[in-house]
């Protein structure tokens, strides 16, 4: 046994790190650091730090976030107005107010639970289906496969209103045994959120490549063992991202929920918010909307943490973010 060579490998393995040679050679002249000089240098070097882009990006972030902040702010209003600030009350419109707070107004409470029910069911149905569809589409070759690939993207590009009308007509004329109901709403949500799952999972599949499956097959794994022991564990981050994504888009949906609604019993949060604001809105509506914002934010937060945890061993340098992995769009 060549024991000596082993220790040599270990040495040369560790010896490489930490030899960053930064050539800090002496410069002949030191540039003057006056303002006008810097301005000249800055204008002369458009490839430096992208200041304009940074300003534009921050302006965009602020403009898009201000309405949300204002809406959330008024959910803490002490008075009954949604336009005039009357003092701060942390809990009033969430659960303290005995008749009209989110918790005590049966319509709001029901809408919240309806939304959660739809999003939860959608998440649990669309994700497994989408994962299987993605694996199938990634493995399947031929003209039919590319057609399926293309058709699969339809829900992503079809205007949601069209989707809603179409689904409504389908349930009205074709699947008559399913009346407008929670069931119809769930089926509708699954139909359009499936594509998101496929896109996310397929991106991850492509970045994983075929090498691990081949290695598993080479080591004697049957196709089923390959899927169970190698592919699914490697897809876990994408599966988790999909769950969160489906939850977020489902809870956000207005059009399809509305078209397939059975009336006030099927009202989701967006529908309730919409109809209330057309009447005499109370800050409880803001509170309801704010709850959705909190839930979406925490879903994204949880997704980020879990993704970070699950892929911690894969990139020691910490390169490549979640978004890169989650949405490896390859359209």
């Amino acid at each position: 046994m060549s024991a000596a060579s082993g220790s040599r490998a270990a040495k040369s393995g560790t010896g490489k790190s930490g030899t960053g040679e930064n050539g800090t050679g002496g410069r002949g002249r030191i540039a003057e650091r006056t303002f006008s000089h810097r301005l000249k240098v800055w204008i002369a070097n458009p490839w430096g730090h992208p200041r304009f882009l940074v300003i534009v990006a921050w302006a965009y972030v602020l403009i898009s976030i201000v309405p949300v902040i204002v809406a959330v702010q008024f959910s803490f209003n002490a008075g009954r107005s949604v336009t005039v600030w009357q003092g701060f009350d942390l809990t009033k419109w969430y659960f303290s107010e005995p008749a009209y707070s989110v918790w005590h107004d049966p319509r709001l409470q029901h809408a919240l639970f309806q939304s959660l029910k739809l999003a939860g069911l959608d998440m649990l149905i669309a994700t497994p289906l989408g994962v299987l569809l993605a694996i199938g589409l990634a493995r399947w070759r031929g003209p039919l496969a590319s057609a399926s690939n293309f058709i699969m993207l339809f829900p992503l590009v079809t205007p949601e209103l069209m989707m809603g009308v179409a689904l409504f007509l389908v349930f009205l004329n074709l699947f008559k045994f399913i009346p407008p109901s929670t069931t119809a709403q769930v089926l509708g949500h699954v139909t359009f959120s499936l594509s998101y799952v496929v896109v996310i999972v397929r991106g991850r599949l492509f970045s994983i490549g075929k090498q691990y499956e081949e290695a598993a097959a080479d080591l004697g794994a049957t196709p089923w063992e390959c899927l169970r022991l190698v592919l699914l564990p490697l897809l876990l981050p994408a599966i988790f991202s999909s769950l969160m994504m489906v939850f977020a888009i489902s809870i956000d949906d207005f059009v399809i929920s509305q078209w397939l609604s059975c009336g006030s019993d099927c009202d989701t949060v967006p529908i309730r918010v919409y109809s209330s604001t057309r009447g005499a809105p109370l800050p409880s509506i803001n509170a309801l909307a704010a709850i959705m914002v909190y839930m979406t934010l925490s879903a994204i937060g949880v997704a980020w943490l879990v993704h970070k945890f699950m892929t911690r061993g894969e990139r020691p340098e910490g390169r490549g973010g979640m978004m890169q992995n989650m949405g490896g769009f390859d359209m």
Partner: protein, 369 residues
């Protein structure tokens, strides 16, 4: 260990109309370290992947120890692969990676633990069981990949450029280790590489491939000393290739070759009876430089055009009177080399080192190696 004989019969692989592998016939006896050498796109990896079962041949047969494996799916073949990218499962630690194959064979946990331990000891990675692949260096990952494949005691181990991702020093060291390991375990290694030095130092036999075909199968020594085709001569090491007109054998059984219209040379290697247009070749280290005006056969006047110090040797590019450019390598023996750029010399091409090549093989790439 007996077994591990691989036979490829009339193997073809077409991608559309592109012939990736073109009618390969090959017999690798058990226990041999066999290399498939060639530049990228020559079909060597495709051949390996067909032996592993990842690609289906368009036609032909793959026979392992007398059993036709052509239709057998990869997970039922008694061969294992070390991938170029290692393909270690990133979600499993070293122990589970190595144990993966054993567990698929429904080994008892005690056996798994024992055999994984043995395999890791073989590649000197004892103590690394709990590490994740990402926490290891390239060289260590390479060893894990090796252990993962060897632990199953395959009849044939397929290696697809396993050292390609490593730096030069580590590669040299692992070359020696791989060869030692192969002799230790005694199984057949089929090794794919584009690195000629790797192939020469490790292999029992080499097949040089180009454009899906095998150009020559020979031992490293035979391959280097007696390249069968112009392609092989050009691919393997630095060769000086010159155009000449051959006119059959002389009285000493050597081929008479006329170079540049005026210089008559005698070539002692290759087909002595060749006639007509041909290529002659000589290795740079066999070229002798002598002072200007030296007499004798196989001497051509020339001028040193470039003088490159390599450390252990000096490389001289000499422009011959025939118009050819030739490389000469002079060992750095401590003595002063009296030739510099511009020196007039007599270039001696010893007949014993000069080789006539009639078989061109595949057309050469525009740029020689």
């Amino acid at each position: 260990m007996a077994g591990g004989a691989v036979e490829l019969i009339d193997l073809n692989k077409l991608y559309g109309t592109m012939r990736a592998v073109d009618n390969i016939n090959l017999h690798i006896p058990g226990g041999e370290f066999f290399s498939l050498l060639g530049s990228s796109g020559c079909g060597k990896t495709t051949t390996l992947r067909m032996i592993a079962g990842f690609e289906q041949p368009t036609s032909g047969h793959i026979i392992l120890d007398g059993v036709d494996m052509t239709e057998t799916p990869p997970h039922k073949r008694h061969v294992n692969t070390v991938f170029q990218s290692y393909a270690l499962f990133p979600h499993l630690n070293v122990f589970d990676n190595v144990a993966f194959g054993l567990r698929r064979q429904k080994e008892t946990p005690e056996n798994v633990t024992r055999r994984v331990g043995e395999a890791l000891e073989l590649v000197q990675l004892t103590g690394f069981e709990k590490r994740k692949p990402a926490q290891m260096s390239g060289g260590q990952q390479q060893r894990v990949a090796l252990a993962r494949a060897l632990v199953l005691k395959p009849a044939v181990l397929l290696l697809d450029e396993p050292l390609g991702a490593l730096d030069a020093r580590l590669r040299k060291q692992l070359q020696v280790e791989l060869k030692t390991l192969q002799q230790q375990v005694g199984i057949t290694f089929v090794y794919v590489t584009h690195d000629q030095e790797e192939a020469l130092t490790m292999s029992d036999r080499i097949a040089i491939m180009s454009q899906g075909r095998i150009e020559q199968i020979a031992t490293p020594e035979e391959m280097y000393e007696n390249p069968a085709t112009v392609f092989v001569a050009d691919f393997l090491g630095v060769s000086n290739l010159m155009d000449g007109i051959a006119s059959g054998a002389d009285t000493g059984g050597r081929c008479k070759v006329k170079l540049g219209g005026t210089f008559e040379l005698a070539a002692g290697r290759g087909s002595a009876a060749a006639s007509g247009k041909t290529k002659i070749t000589i290795r740079p280290e066999r070229v002798r430089l002598e002072p200007k005006g030296s007499g004798g056969e196989n001497r051509i006047p020339g001028t040193v055009q470039r003088w490159v110090y390599l450390g252990n040797a000096v490389q001289l590019i000499v422009g011959l009177a025939t118009g050819d450019k030739i490389q000469a390598l002079m060992q750095n023996s401590g003595e002063e080399i009296p030739y510099r750029e511009g020196s007039e010399v007599a270039v001696h091409l010893p007949a014993t080192a000069l080789r006539v090549l009639t078989d061109t093989g595949v057309p050469l790439a525009s740029e020689g190696d």
